[in-house]
Assembly symmetry: C2
Homo-oligomer: 334 residues x 2
């Protein structure tokens, strides 16, 4: 691990570095936040609390889509056009499988050649971790750090494994679903509920012979989206087409995203939504910790396994087993 090779910098140095938009400080601060080392926790918390105070005006955009849909190319194309328009862009990723597959998103970095070498862009592969909750928490804190370092557009990419889309949705202002024309949802591996989350569906690879089918898919989705109940944001989700590889349609998609932000800034939803997200994260994190402390207890683990077998064999009711396990847990806490 990188954070083992060099000594951990003092929080104050990191805070100063981030304030000066120093990417080395930013990268180190994210590494600190991602560290599983308990000694790093309070240092990380100090950096986060300092960065929280800056609260610059930013746009957080989530991007999802199944593998092969062209997420990296899309982010490369969108990211470069944003930089050319004067923005600074941070790309983060949520991939709860990254600790297993090692670098599915690191691979992406090599596919974002212009963006990854541009000084106004910051690309960070997914944190690794055993639980989506842990990975998501680290990404959320990385967003705060990137924003404090001056990146005004945050793109959060997800590979769409398990509940990772829901995690990304809970930390962004705008959620974009990338699709291909001509394949059903089932074939594209798109899970139920994702379309309801989307503020925009973008049909990628609308190029050459695919243009007609992309346009048709656009019409069909636009019609289908009108059947969904209205969103709390009062935003009517839009469907667009683009060819990320040919850089066509990207400007229109950005215009649409800007329309969204204008609308939700005006009606107060953006601010209310970010507050609600913060509250939701507090509640979620409290639950996560309560659960992980209980289920992670080494002394309880063996007992739990034994009770599970008895419960599976109908020897004892789940509620009786729970009662006895919790009584032991309370004793252990004392």
């Amino acid at each position: 691990m990188t954070n083992q090779r060099t000594p951990v910098p003092a929080p104050e140095d990191l805070i100063l570095g981030i304030d000066q938009s120093d990417t080395t400080s930013l990268a180190r601060a994210i590494t600190l936040v991602e560290s599983e080392n308990p000694e790093h926790l309070s240092k990380a918390a100090r950096v986060i609390e300092a960065c929280l105070k800056s609260r610059p005006e930013t746009k957080r955009i989530g991007i999802t889509g199944v593998p092969g849909v062209g997420k990296s190319t899309f982010i490369e194309s969108l990211g470069m056009s944003l930089i050319n328009a004067g923005h600074s862009v941070a790309v983060l990723a949520i991939d709860p499988t990254s600790s297993l597959s090692k670098g599915s998103i690191l691979g992406d970095k090599t596919r974002m050649t212009s963006l990854s070498s541009h000084p106004k862009a910051f690309i960070r592969p997914s944190a690794s971790g055993d639980s989506l909750g842990g990975v998501a928490r680290k990404t959320r804190e990385a967003i705060i750090l990137c924003e404090a370092a001056g990146y005004d557009i945050i793109l959060v990419e997800t590979v769409g494994v398990g509940q990772s889309e829901t995690a990304v949705h809970s930390m962004v202002d705008f959620f974009l679903l990338l699709k291909l024309a001509g394949a059903g949802d089932e074939l594209q591996g798109i899970k139920r509920g994702i379309i309801e989350m989307a503020d925009a569906i973008v049909i990628n690879k609308a190029e050459g012979a695919n243009v007609a089918s992309a346009k048709q898919a656009q019409t069909e989705f636009s019609r289908a989206l009108h059947l969904y109940p209205p969103k709390a944001s009062e935003w009517q989700p839009k469907v667009g087409t683009c060819s990320a590889i040919e850089n066509s349609g990207i400007a229109e998609i950005w215009e649409m995203i800007l329309d969204y932000f204008l609308s939700v800034q005006k009606n107060g939803y953006l601010e209310a939504h970010r507050s609600a997200q913060n509250k939701q994260w507090l509640m979620q994190h409290l639950e996560d910790v309560l659960k992980s402390e209980f289920f992670g207890s080494e002394t309880l683990k063996k007992q739990l396994d034994e009770w599970v077998v008895k419960v599976e064999n109908h020897e004892v009711s789940p509620f009786k087993a729970a009662e006895l396990l919790l009584a032991d847990y309370r004793k252990e806490l004392k």
Copy 2:
């Protein structure tokens, strides 16, 4: 409350009564299980543990559908035909709103006139409670009690509010979705994911002028269901039509349900699924208790409210607030 008027019978008497299929003992045992009085907890647990041992061969069937689809009439019709075929039928309900609306399912009882007066049927309205978790737990324990009392068919009805379908699905062997022809899912208030849970979709009110549209809906749903991934039970969900009010199609639906049970008994899924449900209930109940103890802590409540405001206003990160709250909680436990 009924259980305040008469003294609580001794667990041994209830166990004996249930074993003798005495419905008064069964009703009182369910009341005991539903009681919020902490003194009743250990008595209830003793009754449950004793009833768990009997493990008769039973069929647990969940029935859902939006209000107006004819659930009560369907249960009346199916229930009477089962009794005529020699079965004993218990009807339970899950309605997390029943404490508010007072008797939306009690109302049902008056609509099941033949069934509710038949000695081979036992109808119990939904337990009341603040949380779905609590209501569901009580219903699950009531299933065990009814089975021990000799009811071999358990019908669990849900009104489909919130996550109540998921709760019912987690406690039955077979899950039946009742629908009407001619209205879209959105119009019928059917939530996403419900269709995936269903082992059968039954189009009710296939009578008179509705027969043609019901048949058409049947064809459409059969086709659509084939697009879903195969189930762990290896059962291909079926679509049927019926008119509960005219008692037509009910026998065919029961035949189909019997086909299902034959199939899952043979391939071992029924037994494996009930074991897995037991484990799932243990895990879920452990989580519920951990959460309710934390969020129900009176001393913590005020602090939590204060931290929520700070978190909503971006004054402190959700993770820092969680850390401080949990530290206070641990102190309180000691």
